[in-house]
């Protein structure tokens, strides 16, 4: 019987074409920030297959971004709900999900954001939720506005929410962005378009969901995450 370190299953590689390449000329900030040497392929060890654990006892959840000190943020209130699973379709319970976004006017509550759009004193733009035992998560916010950036002439980021997830191991770490259906800016956005596989790219777009929509209160969007996971199980001899 091996020790617990060695019995941790390894994570299968990413499906080809489903992840962006850091060498992506259309996004100017990559030019001097992408490695030119190929990454060193390494066998997974306990460092890669295990990872940190977070609980709402240590880090309180922030499930409502749309109010601050009891005062309501400006903008279109929305509910975002979805499920975190692994590549085998199994729920990922108790995953910490960090959330950050611009306000409804397309301005971040951040000193470096100089876009000429109003800040909202009732919107900070930070959230933190934990998936439940079946992998479900939900939070309330306002729909973030689009904003200009200087990547190319007349460049605008589509409406998007940033997410950070911690799964079962270091290998399952994910940072991504959620987009909104029907946004005409998606076809022009080099960050969205950096995902080569069309289906993988479209999975970054949330779906409007009338079942999540709350009458007289807020529109609902469904957005699921799939974390790199233990699709295969290795058994001891």
């Amino acid at each position: 019987m091996s020790d617990s370190f060695e019995s941790a299953a390894t994570f299968p590689p990413f499906a080809p074409g489903t992840q962006p390449d850091n060498d992506w000329a259309a996004y100017g900030s990559t030019h001097r920030r992408h490695p030119q040497q190929p990454a060193l392929r390494i066998p997974q060890t306990v460092t890669e297959t295990t990872g940190p654990r977070f609980t709402s006892a240590q880090l309180p959840a922030i499930i409502d971004l749309a109010t601050e000190g009891g005062r309501e943020a400006m903008g279109e209130r929305i509910i975002v709900r979805g499920r975190v699973t692994d590549e085998a379709g199994a729920p990922v319970p108790h995953a910490m999900i960090e959330i950050w976004q611009a306000n409804a006017a397309g301005r971040y509550n951040h000193a470096r954001d100089q876009h000429d759009a109003p800040l909202d004193p009732n919107f900070k733009g930070e959230g933190r939720v934990f998936s439940d035992a079946e992998g479900w998560y939900q939070f309330t916010t306002v729909k973030p506005g689009a904003y200009p950036w200087r990547n190319h002439f007349n460049a605008w980021r589509p409406n998007h929410i940033h997410f950070s997830l911690f799964g079962a191991g270091f290998a399952s770490r994910l940072i991504t962005q959620m987009y909104f259906p029907g946004d005409p800016l998606l076809a022009l956005d080099p960050i969205f378009r950096s995902v080569p596989d069309e289906a993988a790219r479209q999975r970054l777009v949330a779906q409007f969901d009338i079942e999540i929509t709350k009458p007289e209160w807020a529109l609902g969007y469904r957005f699921d995450f799939v974390l790199r996971g233990r699709a295969r199980t290795f058994f001891e001899e």
């Binding site: 370190f5 990559t30 920030r33 390494i42 590549e87 950050w100 940072i175």
Partner: protein, 173 residues
């Protein structure tokens, strides 16, 4: 079969989720030999990466209620970051191999679409000579990009180059 969700850049405004105390992994009172790890990240022009997020993960000592094993630090205008943690010990590797003490780093920033992962080892550790990962890197100069140097009592420093001369070895697994 479901396919893993695609990465997107952390962007320049990730500080909305920054909590500077997370860079101190000893803040819950972990016992053990304390260690300060500083680093500096530069791009292909040698310019500092001043808007990055660096995450540290170590499987040794094992995470517990008083030791998260994980931390996050922002880079400053000079591209510098700083962690306080507990010195890691050796870890088992494949088969009967032993891994030298190390921590893993994830790098995120504007202009980095998919996270970059590297490791930091500690200069002078005799286990470095036989570490299975370091042994995969034939060129000594490339191997050296993963080895932090002593920078005072219980303090270590690593220079990280994203691109070009002295480019850090990044890992795929």
């Amino acid at each position: 079969m479901p396919v893993a969700t695609a990465f997107q850049t952390i962007g320049p405004y990730w500080h909305l989720i920054e909590h500077p105390e997370w860079a101190d992994l000893t803040r819950f009172g972990a016992s053990g030999e304390h260690l300060v790890l500083t680093g500096r990240i530069r791009d292909g022009d040698g310019a500092p990466v001043g808007d990055g997020a660096v995450e540290l993960w170590q499987a040794s000592p094992a995470a517990s209620d008083v030791f998260p094993g994980w931390g996050r630090a922002a880079t400053d205008a000079e591209g510098r970051f700083r962690f306080t943690t507990i010195r890691p010990g050796p870890l088992p590797g494949a088969g009967n191999a032993q891994q030298a003490p190390h921590v893993a780093l994830s790098l995120f920033a504007r202009g980095i679409l998919t996270r970059l992962v590297t490791r930091v080892y500690f200069a002078g550790d005799p286990l470095n000579e036989t570490d299975p990962l370091l042994s995969l890197i034939e060129e000594p100069a490339r191997r050296a990009t993963l080895i932090a140097h002593a920078a005072g009592d219980d303090a270590w420093h690593i220079d990280i180059r994203l691109q070009g001369e002295g480019e850090t070895v990044f890992l795929d697994f």
